[in-house]
């Protein structure tokens, strides 16, 4: 390389970041190629004979692709040029299924989408249904929902810590992340009866009140977690290998992140302070104090650090909820939505009939369309619901944050190494159940 050439490259016009993500042809970061075209390229030895480009499939069954994500990569040596996430391996038609199930059954369905943070999908579904029903849920139910969701956020972020560590070779971290998540899951199991797919948050409130002595369990968790986070800091945050592996990898500007519709830690890492808990407070988030964690460089390290600090913020929120938990009903006392209590069924014929009707037919929801969004650990999780006045949603669409965030991946991976690609997949933290629905 001569000196003149190197100066030439530095004189390249500066490209507007949003223009870069709009590119369509070969200079795009996205490998827009169908299976058939890819197979053709792969079978033709002369097509890329002059350069060293190869097409490589990563996944769908690959330990670092978080389940069944497949990446189609165009590589030159170890460098990723263009890439495209190929999804759908876990598609089970849950939105179609949602149209067959009544509003009462719907939360059982949506909870299976994001299996690492199922309570958030239940919450978004319930909020959408409640907006259509125009019912106000009791204060205690609101705070129980908040408590459970923040605990679920802890569990989800601990899972991220575990898988992120594992993907990058800090295999010990996997055990530690799992250990803490287990503590959270134990409490969730105590309250909801299940470790995942809780079906706990339902339209009208929550399924059951908190068990006796829940305060002690929560206080124990709050005592346990901060020292464990210090261990994480020792093991990862300040460690030169960890920093070297993540800093500057998969960097993205704020303009690009917004243009690509990113939300959650992916958007916040680029420096955009966007958190629905603060921006559009739902539940009682306007009554608790917490900080929105924002990154600077939009790289994998920022996304790791954001999630680590969000655990601290969630601990802070849970501490305030523990202090402020009001007493009262845990579900709305509207007989249209809430089935009669079990004891009433034995003594009242009407209650029995009502119980039967509500579980066979469900309740009717006024016609209309609504969008309700919550801040899930992965970003904005929204439910767009259309009701035609019957007991089943006419259309139930879930805006899954992982699904939308996946499209930032090719742009983060461009011109990076394939080993960094693994760090990038991990830092987006996609849950494939939610991506494919």
């Amino acid at each position: 390389m001569s000196v003149t050439e190197s100066t030439d490259t530095s004189d390249e016009p500066v490209v507007d970041p949003t223009e870069r993500v709009r590119r369509r042809g070969d200079d795009s970061a996205v490998l827009r190629m169908s299976e058939a075209e890819a197979a053709e390229v792969g079978n033709d030895p002369h097509l890329h004979a002059d350069d060293q480009r190869v097409l490589l499939n990563m996944g769908p069954s690959h330990p670092s692709t978080h389940g069944v994500l497949r990446l189609m990569l165009e590589m030159e040596g170890e460098t990723v040029l263009r890439s495209k996430p190929v999804i759908g391996y876990l598609h089970t038609g849950m939105e179609k299924q949602g149209e067959q199930l009544s509003y009462m059954q719907g939360s059982t369905n949506v909870t299976r989408m994001d299996y690492a943070s199922p309570l958030f999908t239940e919450l978004a579904f319930s909020l959408a249904t409640e907006t259509l029903l125009e019912i106000e849920i009791p204060e205690r139910a609101t705070w129980i929902r908040m408590l459970m969701c923040e605990l679920n956020r802890l569990g989800s972020h601990f899972l991220f810590m575990a898988t992120n560590g594992m993907d990058l070779g800090a295999v010990g971290m996997m055990i530690y992340g799992w250990r803490e998540r287990e503590e959270v899951l134990r409490f969730l199991e105590k309250v909801t009866g299940l470790r995942m797919n809780h079906n706990y948050i339902r339209p009208g409130g929550v399924a059951a009140d908190l068990p006796d002595g829940w305060e002690y369990d929560i206080a124990r968790l709050l005592e346990m977690i901060p020292p464990r986070l210090k261990e994480y800091d020792t093991l990862m945050t300040g460690q030169p290998i960890w920093r070297g592996r993540l800093q500057g990898v998969g960097a993205m500007s704020a303009e690009e992140a917004i243009a690509l519709s990113a939300t959650g830690p992916v958007l916040r890492s680029a420096g955009v302070p966007s958190d629905l808990r603060r921006d559009e407070p739902y539940l009682a988030y306007d009554q608790v104090e917490f900080d929105v964690i924002v990154g600077t460089y939009g790289d994998c390290y920022d996304r790791y650090a954001i999630r680590l600090n969000e655990i601290r913020e969630s601990v802070r929120i849970i501490g305030q909820i523990l202090e402020a938990m009001p007493s009262g009903d845990y579900r709305v006392q509207d007989k249209k939505v809430t089935p009669p209590p079990r004891a009433r069924i034995d003594e009242s014929m009407e209650a029995l009939i009502h119980h039967f009707k509500i579980f066979t037919e469900g309740y009717k929801v006024p016609a209309g369309e609504v969008y309700a969004a919550v801040e899930s650990p992965r970003g904005e999780l929204g439910v767009y619901m259309v009701s035609d006045g019957s007991s089943h949603p006419y259309r139930m669409h879930v805006r899954a944050p992982s699904f939308v965030n996946l499209q930032t991946m090719p742009h983060m991976m461009r011109d990076g190494l394939i080993a960094d690609g693994v760090a990038i997949i991990s830092s987006v933290d996609p849950i494939m159940g939610e991506v494919d629905r």
């Binding site: 917004i258 969008y371 929204g382 767009y384």
Partner: protein
């Protein structure tokens, strides 16, 4: 969420106060959420006006098939109901205002211009709508199936696609054991 608070973008002398406009398209309120109803011809213009007005985040693109819905009443006067409706959810990342664009798409010509050139983030949501409803986004850079296999027949979220109607896959290959 604050629907009618922004009067600056409404057109100058609207004779009927009962029919508010936003970006020259009818504006309605759905449970406190602002909904704009552009036609297919004005779809891109309205979207661009919204983008220039600060709605820089395209939260989602989805669609609804209104085949079985009897007596829809949520459309403003002058908007002809069609079988499909494409819904774009926009939000302003600074003010956190949200609006929804809903465009009617007839079944005999299910096409809509793509929003890719305004918001590149529309790429995968539009692919999902294409896959699930068979609505074509004109000028989309890579319109192909995303959740279903490439050779799948039919569009599952259409209302005339029955739940149980699942063709048997890999039937012609015969059993291997």
């Amino acid at each position: 969420m604050n629907a009618e608070s922004d009067d600056s973008t409404e057109t100058e002398d609207d004779p009927t106060p009962s029919a508010p406009l936003r970006y020259d398209a009818p504006l309605t309120d759905s449970r406190g959420q602002a909904v704009v109803h552009p036609s297919r011809d004005t779809w891109l213009e309205v979207a661009e006006a919204a983008l220039n007005d600060g709605f820089d985040h395209l939260t989602d693109v989805t669609a609804v098939d209104y085949l079985d819905y009897q007596g829809r009443r949520d459309l403003p006067d002058g908007v002809e109901p069609q079988r499909f409706e494409v819904v774009a959810l926009l939000s302003n990342i600074v003010t956190r205002e949200r609006i929804r664009l809903r465009v009617q798409v007839p079944v005999d010509d299910p096409t809509v211009p793509t929003l890719f050139d305004l918001w590149p983030g529309s790429e995968t949501p539009e692919r999902e709508v294409f896959d699930m409803f068979g609505i074509t986004f004109v000028d989309h850079p890579d319109l192909c199936r995303i959740l279903m296999p490439d050779d799948w027949v039919g569009h599952p979220l259409r209302k005339d696609y029955a739940v149980g109607r699942i063709p048997v896959q890999f039937k012609d290959q015969g059993a291997t054991r």
